[in-house]
Subunit: 469 residues, 2 copies
């Protein structure tokens, strides 16, 4: 049963399992104690720290273990902001950071700090020049992920690190997605990562703070982990996390190149999906990207229904579609990129994914998409005007009322009616679905129609589209 | 090799080990995902929450898992304080709370809150009446441990819960030490606990918040664990924690009474140690106490040396002596109780401790204490005046200069010289060791001498003792 959601959580690496078992017996005691069980635990902890530091590319005394990647981000971010409070309170971050960064940024803003969001292009990539432009005398911190968790696009971390260093501004890199593949390049100040993304156990994050970075841990004092992560260390899991990371790096150096192999499989998906499935947009950078991750969106498809269909067929994937989120809003990453969010599928291959699984996925995907579209009634070649369409009395063009209907219905209705609109005339879609704001412009781009704009209307928003094709 | 420090961290319970192994394979995926691996993880998480809630004595939706007991305390405390900010900012806590409570209280005070510390008697117990007296219209929260982690004394939680309920003030109970033995009694509002104290794995804390408690989680937003504990759940460890807690409760109900058996062994230590070792003070409540924990302090003994000696003999214990702390200050618990801190030993027996191990401990302890005392040169029956003693020119009594000497030397020198002091006259001990402030008065209590008081002096503090016996 193929599991294609490694970017959420990877199955436990065999080395992690083995190390965890061994350290359950050796590493349950308090490493701060002086007796033999404590000294044994201490030795394990020190060895794990050295291994993890080597993989991160820092000194052991620059690295602490936290209970999660999220907590590593939170602790690192607030400690730097506090230490630089006298310099200023501007926090610069990309629009496509992980929610752990964005939610921490919200707290900073609520406490009187200022935020500057760096936009991304249609592939999800930040321009280093935009970061340079955003820096001010009161910039306290720049946050930039090493690669995006939803679309796989790599960010220009090394370049941004260099310009931050020149400006004397610290850079926090969320390396959760790339650390399994290699150390974070460049002159970063703080790096955060999460073990369960590389096949380590859950319950372990890494927080590395380069010497010379001003750092004031917030929250209650605690002696453990250099005062940077409170609470009793999760030692068996820490040992397992470090051992599996070291094993991955050792394999990468001496064994077959798994990254290259997965990149080949992902290239196959990137190339074949648009050939096999009509009306698909593959998103994310085509070259500068994670080796194991590919994301695409399918027009006229309900993301949740497609996930269920793929799950029924034995494939576990995730989605940034609004219908798969508890808040019914599309992924902020897809929104920042301006790409289609409906029918969104993220495939992220775990280490060792068999080629046959990918081929089988490509075999079943077209039928899965078709069956979801059939159930929704996708537009045919010769569309008839749907019941909701009416010509307004003032002659300003067709109005399509989709109020109360959820993604992907508004776009489906629009596609059905566009054939009725005279070339050069407009159609106005009324919708109260948050996804429409993103998907109607994205549909226009894909269909070469002109997106005129939006304005508020009773009970929702009116999206105006001019027929060009 | 007997491990007698269960109160720091208990060895992994066999049920925890088994459950951890099983859930490594079943529970590594994200429980928020809709595919089969996610649903499987969700089922495990839900079952663990039900089991843990039953053991705590609350509803499953009142309980969340945190990465540690420390984080459960921090999150619970700040969320209640924030929710009651309009009522007031007084935080009431006992003087013998765990450092996680005290350090969180310091943060509250630094942010403008007020603290009221409830003293304890010589057994380490809070008087409920003192809590009642401390309550004010602006009391935001009362924090009280269920039993003390250093001396085992149980606190009147049920009584305090009742008076808090009458006053409409929430009560946070740190139940880390008692949850292994039973649910927290009474009408508490918030309870925190830590799995590695009952033989669960590290990396799991419990935070229970009774319905109706005003609660505003602080820090960045996060969807997991009802927004009360950010970061990816440590599911295998959570499953193991819940399974082992349930197993303990099941054994307690149907199997042999392990608490009673351990209580018998601890009674033996409490009774025999003062018979076997001269100049010992057994501390903590004799009846209302944890079943598995006993603490005593040995006059004229260096705690760290005694710990090393016991470790060499195969016994792992901990200590609240200043020389075993990184800050060179004695335990705040022993200080609040006003008992001797030098030569302090805490014995806390894990489940299943063999009787023979306790007997062996009682066999080796007297020689271990004697050898440490011999190395330090303990006072003999007919003491000679030590080199540092001199009679001051103003005729105000003997002055003993122990500046620069660490615990237990100042008390040893005092004991050596007291025979030289005429009955009714005073001896003044000069010391810059923090432990002297606690141990000189404690020595006076043990030796029926009068402790007159202290005053600052050049390079330290002068402690005045009047010879009575």
């Amino acid at each position: 049963m193929p599991y294609f959601d490694a970017a959420s959580s990877a199955p436990l690496h065999p080395v992690a399992r083995e190390a965890l078992l061994a350290s359950l017996d050796e590493g349950w005691a308090d490493p701060a104690r002086l007796y033999r069980e404590g000294r044994r635990a201490r030795l394990l902890l020190d060895a794990a720290r050295e291994a993890a530091a080597e993989a991160v590319g820092c000194r052991p005394d620059e690295l602490v273990f936290t209970p999660s990647g999220t907590q590593a981000v939170h602790s690192g971010l607030f400690a730097v902001l506090a230490a630089r409070r006298r310099v200023g309170r501007q926090l610069v971050h990309s629009a496509v950071e992980h929610s752990s960064v964005l939610h921490a940024a919200e707290v900073h803003e609520a406490a009187g700090g200022t935020l500057t969001e760096i936009p991304v292009d249609r592939t999800g990539r930040v321009a280093a020049g935009d970061v340079a432009t955003a820096l001010r005398p009161d910039t306290a911190l720049v946050c930039l992920q090493s690669a995006n968790h939803e679309v796989g696009t790599e960010q220009p971390v090394e370049e941004v690190a260099e310009l931050c260093q020149e400006a004397g501004v610290p850079l926090l890199v969320d390396a959760a997605q790339t650390l399994p593949w290699g150390p974070v390049p460049g002159a970063w100040s703080v790096t955060a990562a999460s073990a369960h993304k590389w096949g380590g156990p859950p319950g372990v994050g890494l927080l590395a703070v380069r010497k010379g970075t001003r750092f004031s841990p917030q929250g209650p004092k605690d002696e453990r982990e250099s005062g940077r992560s409170p609470g009793f260390q999760n030692l068996p899991a820490i040992v397992a996390a470090a051992a599996s990371l070291r094993a991955l790096r050792a394999t990468a150096e001496t064994g077959p190149d798994e990254a290259a192999r997965l990149r080949g499989l992902v290239d196959r998906i990137r190339g074949r999906v648009p050939e096999l499935v009509p009306d698909v947009e593959v998103v994310g950078a085509p070259v500068h990207r994670l080796p194991h991750l590919v994301t695409f969106s399918c027009l006229y498809v309900d993301g949740e229904a497609l996930l269920h269909e793929l799950d029924r067929l034995g494939f576990s994937v995730s989605s940034g579609s609004s219908c798969t989120s508890s808040t019914l809003t599309p992924s902020h990453v897809l929104r920042a990129m301006g790409v289609l969010s409906e029918g969104n599928v993220r495939v992220s291959l775990p280490y060792g994914t068999p080629e046959a699984d990918v081929d089988r996925f490509l075999e079943v995907l077209p039928e899965a998409v078709r069956s979801v579209r059939d159930r929704l009634g996708v537009p045919t070649a010769a569309p008839e005007a749907p019941a909701g369409a009416r010509t307004p009395e003032d002659g300003s063009g067709l109005v399509l009322d989709t109020l109360g209907k959820r993604c992907p219905i508004p776009v489906i209705e629009l596609a059905k009616v566009i054939g009725e609109v005279p070339l050069g005339d407009t159609v106005t879609v009324l919708s109260d679905d948050e996804a429409a704001r993103q998907d109607i412009p994205a549909w226009c781009t894909m269909r070469d129609q002109e997106y005129v704009g939006e304005h508020p209307t009773t009970g929702g928003t009116a999206y105006v589209v001019r027929r060009r094709a």
